[in-house]
Amino acid sequence: MKGIKTPWMNTHRRKQEAALGFLFASPWLVGFLVFGLYPMVMSFYFSLCRYDVLRIPQFVGFANYHTLLARDPYFWTAVENTLYYAFVRTPLCITGSLWLAVLINQATRGARAYRTVFFLPSIISGVVVSVLWLWLLNPQYGLINSALQMIGITGPLWLQSPEWSKPSLVLMSLWSIGGGRMIVFLAALQTVPHHLYEVVDLDGGGAWQKFRHVTLPIISPVLFLWIVLEVIFSLQVFTESYVMTKGGPLNSTLFYNLYLYYKAFDDFDMGYASALAWLLLLFSVVVTAVQFRVGKRWVYYETDSRP
């Protein structure tokens, strides 16, 4: 579609479109300027200070950043833990949700029931989920180890073992593969026109061909979206480690955001926490930019000149 001059590409129309663009985007623009920009700027300022929220900030330049990168033993631990979690969990969860969505899509009967059953775990509140999994993963009488016992395997100490604590949390997150993510994928799968499947059929292709050459490209915008988002959000993992392990054992589940929380609200060291936050933002920006770069090669958009 690029390069084809359509009647509406003249200057007047372009100006009108620009004005409309601002108009349509105005709710977010207003909201951002008021509730987004100011707090972000403030938090950056605080990252250059020592500040405990209740008293005046003390400007210290980049001292916080220097301490973080050069002298803080926990920073690198937190980074390692978080990277592990984010990059192990994301592919697993996305693949899981996609696979489930595809399966449910093929179930002509009882789809509604299946959708609900898989969706249920994701609406249980965070505290209950944590209690639940603490019980499930209990080394002695938890369901998982008991089940393993029945087939003769002695299960690991799960959350109480420094080696198994992160895999435990990854396992726990798999329970969410039926949640909002799956619903979004389901919705995306609906947008695939059926006649394209018929084309593959006629060419003699099977399920895998259909998936690879029809489904995947059509849903790639949504898939891409979710990979980007999932990475961003899993870099901010917090609740599970806060409620269940408190960062242990041996700091194996000390995630970046948990460390940030300790610094902000236990130690009241909001300046340091802000520095942590901005480093995370920087890293997320880089990772996301890379993904957008790579995305140009495999994401397929219908509309012209996007993204």
Binding site: P39, Y141, I218, S274, L281, T303
Partner: protein
């Protein structure tokens, strides 16, 4: 031959779905059964799946401990307002980012994404101070107004991707016919994106219903509390009352399941109005 193979495959699909479904249900069943137990029976070895006596009075106790109906009303008000605001404003903004072209769009889209990358722990206090200066403390406004102002980067991003997936021909044709942009948005794009909108509605509901921190710091009056805040009262410094916690959670889940049930048919509605098929 092919028909037979397809039949086997279908069977396989159902088998896997049912097996996994059962697996997913097990912990949920445990939550349900725990809600009907006395506290001593919860952590027994081996675990009891069906309590010897179903203690329905746990649920009565929940109603006794907190004004469920009042909190329910507050939760509904906040959540419905948020849903309306988010669906309306995020679709508008997503349309701007996906379809319309305007200067600075791509940069601002990057900024939009960046807002999701800063953990809210460090922006929480400045935002709180802002709301205080606006005089909105102790009202629902801090929870509801931001929903109407774009509704969150996540939702905008989601809808933008959906809009991008819709073939351009339709909108182009409408434009050539002289349709205003708003008409295109309202009459064409929104219906086409119905699955996405329903998804946003569901996810907004999920988040809002369970949101505890917002109500905690912005609402001080007890009669403005939401259900999520009420639920957090069951978790004391030393929580012993797991059964009540589970019962309260189950109660909170019921509306969510209902909402999900209602909205999910829109997701599957599909493209009845599009000109894509053929």
């Amino acid at each position: 031959m092919k028909h037979r193979r397809r039949q086997w495959r279908q069977l396989g699909v159902y088998a896997i779905l049912t097996a996994f479904g059962a697996l997913f249900l097990i912990p949920f069943v445990w939550v349900l059964s725990t809600s009907l137990k006395g506290n001593e029976q919860i952590f027994t070895i081996p675990p009891q799946w069906i309590p010897s006596r179903l203690r329905w009075e746990n649920y009565m106790e929940v109603f006794r401990r907190m004004p469920v109906l009042l909190y329910l009303k507050n939760s509904v008000v906040v959540t419905v307002l948020q849903m309306i605001g988010i669906v309306a404003s995020s679709s508008l903004v997503a349309y701007a980012f996906a379809i319309l072209r305007w200067p600075g769009r791509n940069i601002l889209f990057g900024v939009l994404l960046a807002t999701m990358m800063l953990p809210m722990q460090v922006t929480m206090i400045p935002v709180f101070v802002l709301f205080k200066q606006l005089g909105w403390l102790d009202t629902f406004k801090p929870l509801v107004v931001p929903a109407f102002l774009g509704g969150g980067a996540f939702n905008i991003f989601l809808l933008r991707q959906f809009f991008l997936g819709i073939p351009a021909d339709i909108a182009d044709a409408a434009r050539i016919d002289g349709c205003s942009e708003f008409r295109i948005y309202w009459n064409i794009m929104l219906p086409l994106a119905a699955p996405a909108l329903a998804t946003v509605a569901i996810m907004t509901f999920m988040f809002s219903w369970n949101d505890f921190l917002g109500p905690l710091i912005y609402l001080s009056e007890k009669n403005k509390s939401t259900l999520a805040l009420g639920l957090s009262m069951f978790v004391g410094q030393q929580t012993n009352e797991w059964a009540l916690l589970m019962a309260a959670s189950i109660l909170m889940m019921i509306p969510m399941v209902a909402v999900f049930f209602f909205f999910q048919k829109y997701i599957i509605q599909g493209f009845t109005m599009s000109g894509i098929k053929g």
